[in-house]
Assembly symmetry: none
Homo-oligomer: 201 residues x 4
């Protein structure tokens, strides 16, 4: 058997196990929160041993961090891809609301987990998240800057754009994910309009 195939098969197997642990952990975290989830819960539902979890993630916190980081990265990547195709400021702003609403509906458990504030990450993970956020926000500003410059968007304090554009839909989505109200899909136009009104010139 060629070496490369053996390696890739092994890697695939390893990856499969890691993915399986992560997706099981997500279910547990989404249902009961990180604190209330025990390693034993994950291990039983993922059909693996305690040791395997520690072998791959080092600690329970390690699982929570890996899940959080990969979730944020998927969300950010999707958002940037979506915004990349926008032609105007208005399209951009509204797309933020649309994408956030759609993505949350498609990835409810992950969205719920990313909203939760009950995780205390390690300094290393916080550093990592900061740099991910910085890279993301930089890219976002790069995409919006032209529309501020050509006068389509208002000139505002930098840290207000995000809350003004996505604060309302985020709050609505958060409530929906906790079981209140109806799907964001039905009201996203409303929130997209509000977002646009909040930042248009």
């Amino acid at each position: 058997m060629p070496r490369s195939r053996a390696n890739s098969r092994e890697r695939a197997a390893t990856t499969a196990r890691k993915e399986s642990i992560l997706s099981t952990a997500l279910e547990c975290f989404a249902e009961h929160g990180v604190e209330a989830t025990t390693i034993s819960d994950i291990q039983a539902r993922a059909h693996c041993s305690v040791g395997s979890i520690y072998h791959h993630f080092g600690s329970k916190e390690g699982v929570a961090e890996a899940l959080f980081i990969s979730g944020i990265e998927r969300l950010n990547r999707g958002m940037l891809r979506r915004l990349g195709g926008c032609q105007s400021g208005q399209e951009c702003v509204k797309s933020v609301v649309y994408f956030y609403s759609d993505w949350s509906a498609r990835n409810q458990k992950l969205a719920r987990y990313l909203h939760s504030r009950d995780v205390e990450f390690s300094p290393a993970a916080r550093e990592r998240l900061k740099s991910i956020h910085l890279a993301y926000i930089t890219e976002i500003y790069r995409l919006f800057a032209p529309f501020v410059e050509n006068g389509e968007l208002r000139v505002l304090p930098l840290e207000t754009y995000v809350p003004l554009i996505s604060g309302a839909i985020q709050e609505y989505t958060r409530r929906w994910l906790s079981g209140q109200g109806s799907s964001p899909a039905r009201v996203k136009e409303l929130f997209a309009d509000a977002a646009w009104n909040a930042v248009k010139a």
Copy 2:
């Protein structure tokens, strides 16, 4: 010594002890979260015994609930008092933003605690919170209804008013309480205008 004076003195002492436990608990909860705070942490910082906490609150959850409920009640009471004096829809809507921003700045630790999503309350406490919320939201709608009826405010799905009006400032405040950005006081006009634009007819 008259009985009543003795009683009231005792009651005052008791109240003082309870308040001291609550305020210490708030500090702990705000710093490390409810889960991460131990009875021992509170007891040491409040200079009281473990038994005292149990005598007054029955359980750790009891402390967290008492704190949460009294916090929500203070916030709601303040908001209603503020809105009670408003003459127009616009004043009402903007006042929500102003008050939220001001109150959070004046009660940072409490605001932070009320934002945290890591508390799993008892069914009894949840029932209590629901009824408090219902009473509050009913009163809010009663205050806003005239302005919807007289055409000053748009007719919207009921559950969208709150996110549309306060979602953005809440998101901004949450970030500020976590150490990002500058005081809401400096940008509250912006968010008040956005709120008004989102719901005006």
Copy 3:
């Protein structure tokens, strides 16, 4: 009931519990070593709860340290008391051997534990042990100094006195405690003479 009597009764009870844990721990440590002894072993044999051990000693290491320190202190105290009554250098030197031999035979388990080298103490405990050793060795030198000065004992490098005087009996005792050879009592004269020959002028 007078306050002081209540207090002293409580203190006695507490002390009793602590002592009971310590003596049980000694049995376990002497039988299987510190590493091989589990908290559960101690707890079961001391008829107390896990929590009690942690309440009083903080950790398994805490138990091992408390036991070690109190053992060393008892040994040192006894030795100093014994040497305090000696009139000559020869009596002093031989008394070290006698006392060491006698004490080890009377406190076999403790002696065995103090000999064991498998404990890794906390920095705090090491500091404590160092200062205890310093105080002890200082006192020892103070007792021997006159006999060096009056020419009864040889002038030797300071750190060689202890090994020269007690190295042999210690080695013999160690072997006996591990099950080899016969009681030190039967040969202590031999080792006392050897000690005296090693340091006499």
Copy 4:
């Protein structure tokens, strides 16, 4: 390629790997003790896999035993070689002290490991060690016997010779290996004289 050369090359490689594991294990054991050293510690520092260690030594205990046994054998072999050339009882006795002191200084980590009492060996290994010790002590007595017979050495209980001759230098060396005092080389004459005085007729 001739078969034999391939084999010996393989054997050399294997031997090298085994040696590398042993010497790494020694470093770990000397630094943190056997119990506190994990297979993972050794594997990482020896740049080999977990499986390799098990392939060559069967278990962690197997490593500790192999190391201990080979160490004892080296020490014993060296001692016997040294004593083999002695012409008198005095030379013999003093040579024990000299050799012990020199060997410990040349093999500090191994000496430290051989001193440690925290290893619980398998019955098989204990049997092995006993027979090694028996062979050694027999040989030692065979070397000393003539000098007891010719009246140069005192007639003493058999089990006292070793402690009387090497107890003091062992104790001194042990302390030096733990970081106290100065090199045994500087005081070995002193201990050799004391040893001689202790057993001479």
